[in-house]
Symmetry: C2
DNA sequence: GGAGACTTTGACAATCATTTTCATTTTGGC
DNA sequence: GCCAAAATGAAAATGATTGTCAAAGTCTCC
């Protein structure tokens, strides 16, 4: 029985940027889906555990999710106004993190890197509007 | 009247790694300080706003704070077991983030970079214990 | 020294995302 | 059809954070 989980995954796929669990839930209900908030949370966690979606925390500390195009390790460049997200690979950062870690004797080094900015569309709007 | 705020700041200074607001509050009470949870939150926010302390989110989504040695922009290498924290500068990362942003037409680019690992002390413990 | 204005404080209630609980439903195998 | 295991979801619980508001502290001006 993975219908619900698939539905959640589909909803994420159709979204441009990162969406919160509450967000996904609200959208699914809007489109008439019969699903509970609990299930959305569980589906999202399962997808994240399985590496199917990426998770990060927004400024409010909420978990936000995104179905990413690539399976490989990558980071995100997120517009802080419209949420538009670009996936970026950064071999330089990977190497840097590894190096910094080993320099200080740390092992099993992982890292979180997120880049925020204002995308061209939004910065144009700010100027005109 | 900045006594409380200073007290909060002092408590942070005495700490090795990142501490949550609840944590700081509990510790201050332990040491006999008469202070309210609300005030700790407010003090921490004020300090963070003023750039006096660094904030990040731990895996639980809690805000954690740290009084850092340097005023300049830097990142952290945090031991995921003991919380031991090393401040690291990473010009390479700064440049990378800037580059990635401008490549995609993003302006006002900021970034968050945190590196987690297991420090030498802890990895030794894991092996023996 | 004291009055008044303004800020800080803190107990408590309110919020809000997330998790837990638990009874019901569904699915799959037999 | 029937049973066991997994999935579902409504409602309650949790827990960090924020808002409220009255009491207390601080400062200035007299």
């Amino acid at each position: 029985m993975t219908t619900r989980r698939d539905a959640v995954h589909d909803t994420l796929r159709k979204s441009e940027g990162f969406r919160s669990a509450q967000d996904v839930y609200a959208e699914m209900r809007l489109h008439g889906a019969k699903i509970g908030l609990t299930t959305v949370y569980r589906a999202l966690q399962a997808l994240a555990d399985g590496g199917k979606v990426d998770v990060l925390r927004n400024d409010d500390g909420e978990s936000v999710y995104r179905a990413c195009a690539t399976d490989t390790h990558h980071h995100h460049l997120v517009c802080r106004r419209c949420g538009h997200t670009v996936e970026v690979a950064g071999p330089a950062v990977e190497r840097w993190a590894e190096m910094v870690g080993s320099e200080h004797g740390f092992t099993e080094v992982t890292h979180t890197v997120e880049v925020f900015g204002t995308c061209s569309t939004c910065s144009a709007e700010v100027k005109t509007g």
